[in-house]
């Protein structure tokens, strides 16, 4: 499978990365190179093979359902580019 320019732009949009025409064209070549490389997987017979979902066979650990941490709003927003009274500030999203 290979991607055309329109697909590259659509994927960039999905990934929320702005791309110029030149970048999209360059990426198209690179992505097709990588997709061509991974194409060889299609020759593997995977009939009846379960997909790997866990590297080591183990049950997911669960913590007790208790409040063990919190009250750190100031720490949470400490690295925000823009915050106000412990809220993240973003451009207007609701008209």
């Amino acid at each position: 499978m290979s991607v055309d320019l329109a697909t590259v732009k659509r994927v960039a949009r999905l990934a929320r990365i702005a791309v110029s025409e030149e970048e999209a064209a360059r990426m198209m070549g690179e992505l097709n190179g990588i997709l061509g490389f991974v194409e060889q997987l299609s020759e593997v017979n995977v009939d009846g093979v379960e997909p790997m979902t866990s590297v080591t066979p183990m049950n997911m650990k669960k913590r007790a359902d208790i409040v063990a941490d919190g009250g750190k709003a100031a720490d949470v927003v400490a690295n925000a580019p823009n915050s106000d009274r412990n809220f993240f500030v973003v451009p207007k999203v609701v008209e």
């Binding site: 499978m1 991607v3 697909t7 590259v8 994927v11 960039a12 949009r13 999905l14 990934a15 929320r16 990365i17 702005a18 791309v19 990426m27 690179e30 992505l31 190179g33 990588i34 997709l35 490389f37 991974v38 194409e39 060889q40 997987l41 299609s42 593997v44 995977v46 093979v49 379960e50 997909p51 790997m52 979902t53 590297v55 080591t56 183990m58 997911m60 650990k61 913590r63 750190k72 720490d75 949470v76 927003v77 400490a78 690295n79 925000a80 580019p81 823009n82 993240f88 973003v90 451009p91 207007k92 999203v93």
Partner: protein, 493 residues
């Protein structure tokens, strides 16, 4: 008197406990070495001398009080991927500009609890995506090794290039690193150092910037096998904050150093003999086989038939997981923000400006293979191939193989800004051809120096073990180290 920075961790530990040297003296020696070398080597992206001296003072007090921890007073470098409270943590990406977490990663906290001293944060490929340390926002790291009679700058490998270069150039006693497809073992091989990627789940991933969560694993890069064992003992733990952290006690890895490998069965996989592999790599491999045979191990030819599919499967699984993990960098909660006309425009401009080319490439691949209609053809198929790769290893281990010996990399270190590699991303990816299977199967793997090539550059051997049998790797790697010797670059910087 020998330079303090030339001491291994084990040697420094002995001198500290005998009170022949102080932790402050040792730390000062490293800070001076970093100040003299870092403009050239570029291994550190942030140096923390005040913090280091403060920690060293505390160590001296603890040693005096007879309360020394396992790494008391040992100065370490920390890969920029580990969250360190109040200290530069940016995964060497522009998009995390100014980020200083309010928390400490479990692995680094374990090191500080054992008395280690932090010298600073180490350079790496952006978000650990790369095999040459050239994708770092902070510029490439120079390998302390140069070819004989050449002043051409070489890469230290990647993504833990800063860690490997700092250890090789004696700019820290040891370093933390991470490995998603080979990022500990390939740079260790390129710099004549020892690097181990432990079994998935052995070191907590909590507080480490995520790249591909089902593959990422932390481990040490050190000057010799014993030091790597000492460091891993402190880094590894059972962590309730990481659901994939395994509930197994951490063994005393150092105790396995010096143990006999007599009667061990070492597998030699025929699929690791790849087209175009330099003769010197084949010769090194044969030499490694001879050393282990001489030490009493039985050498057994084995087959891992799905080896060639590991790298293509990796380039679906890793970008898919990365595209999901890196969705969080949106200019809202931390790091860089580039303003736009609305919120979508802000996201797109921030991510366009904040991510480098290789990171964008992988996010794009990941987004594509996970997008509607392609999931089964790419991601699901790759995860099935992964099951087959893992099964290959299970079959040989079930047949009585204790460890597998392979070359660590298909070549020695290459030049910075190599034009061939820059022109073709897939060519760069092939650096991980021998290491990536180990991540796909979640197994432990260690890279240990085997010798120098005819250019005088280090080459590494890799040992692959059964899950949670890192001790087998340490004792076998130590046998190789005893035969091969240790390798230190001559100082030109």
């Amino acid at each position: 008197m020998t330079e303090l920075t030339s001491l291994t961790i084990a040697e420094a530990r002995a001198k500290l406990s005998a009170k022949e040297i102080t932790a402050v003296e040792l730390t000062d020696a490293y800070i001076a070495a970093i100040e003299a070398a870092n403009d050239t080597i570029n291994a550190y992206v942030a140096v923390t001398p005040e913090k280091a001296r403060e920690m060293a003072k505390t160590s001296d007090a603890r040693i005096a009080a007879g309360k020394a921890g396992a790494l008391e007073g040992i100065p370490l470098g920390i890969k920029d991927l580990f969250g360190t409270e109040g200290v530069h943590t940016q995964a060497c990406s522009h998009i995390l500009d100014g980020f200083e977490p309010r928390y400490e990663s479990t692995v680094t906290q374990n090191l500080w609890n054992d008395g280690a001293v932090m010298l600073g944060k180490l350079n790496m490929d952006e978000f650990a995506m790369g095999s040459s340390n050239e994708t770092s926002y902070y510029g490439p790291v120079k390998n302390p090794w140069r070819a004989k009679g050449s002043n051409l700058d070489l890469v230290p490998g990647g993504s833990s290039g800063g860690s490997a270069a700092a250890v090789a150039a004696h700019l820290c006693a040891g370093a933390t690193a991470t490995d998603t497809g080979g990022s500990i073992r390939q740079p260790a091989a390129f710099t004549g150092t020892v690097g181990i990627k432990p079994t998935y789940g052995r070191c907590s991933r909590w507080g480490v910037v995520a790249f591909a969560s089902s593959l990422d694993q932390a481990g040490p890069i050190a000057r010799d096998v014993r030091d790597a064992a000492i460091l891993l003992k402190s880094m590894a733990s059972i962590d309730p904050k990481d659901t994939t952290s395994v509930d197994l006690p951490v063994p005393d890895y150092e105790a396995s150093i010096g143990q006999s490998i007599k009667g061990m069965r070492i597998g030699i996989p025929k699929e690791y003999r790849v087209d175009g592999m330099p003769e010197e790599i084949e010769a090194l491999w044969q030499q490694g086989i001879a050393w282990l045979r001489d030490a009493g191990a039985e050498i057994v030819d084995i087959s891992l038939p799905h080896t060639k599919y590991a790298l293509p499967a990796y380039y679906i699984v890793a970008p898919a997981e990365a595209s999901s993990n890196l969705a969080r960098y949106d200019g809202v909660r931390y790091g860089l923000r580039v303003d736009g006309k609305d919120i979508i425009d802000m996201y797109e401009k921030t991510r366009a400006a904040g991510f480098g080319q290789e990171v964008k490439r992988r996010i794009m691949i990941g987004t594509y293979v996970l997008s509607a209609g392609y999931y089964d053809a790419y991601y699901l198929r790759a995860q099935k191939v992964r099951t087959l790769i893992k099964r290959d290893f299970e079959v040989v281990f079930d047949a009585g193989i204790d460890a597998i010996l392979t070359p660590a990399t298909p070549s020695s270190a290459f030049g910075i800004a190599d034009e061939d590699l820059a022109a073709d991303p897939v060519k760069m990816y092939l650096n991980d051809i021998f290491t990536v299977t180990v991540n796909m199967a979640g197994l432990p793997g260690i890279a240990v120096p085997g010798g120098l090539d005819r250019k005088g550059l280090p080459l590494g051997l890799q040992l692959i073990g059964k899950p949670f049998e890192e001790e087998t790797l340490f004792k076998t790697a130590h046998v190789i180290e005893q035969s091969a010797g240790r390798f230190t670059p001559s100082k030109w910087w």
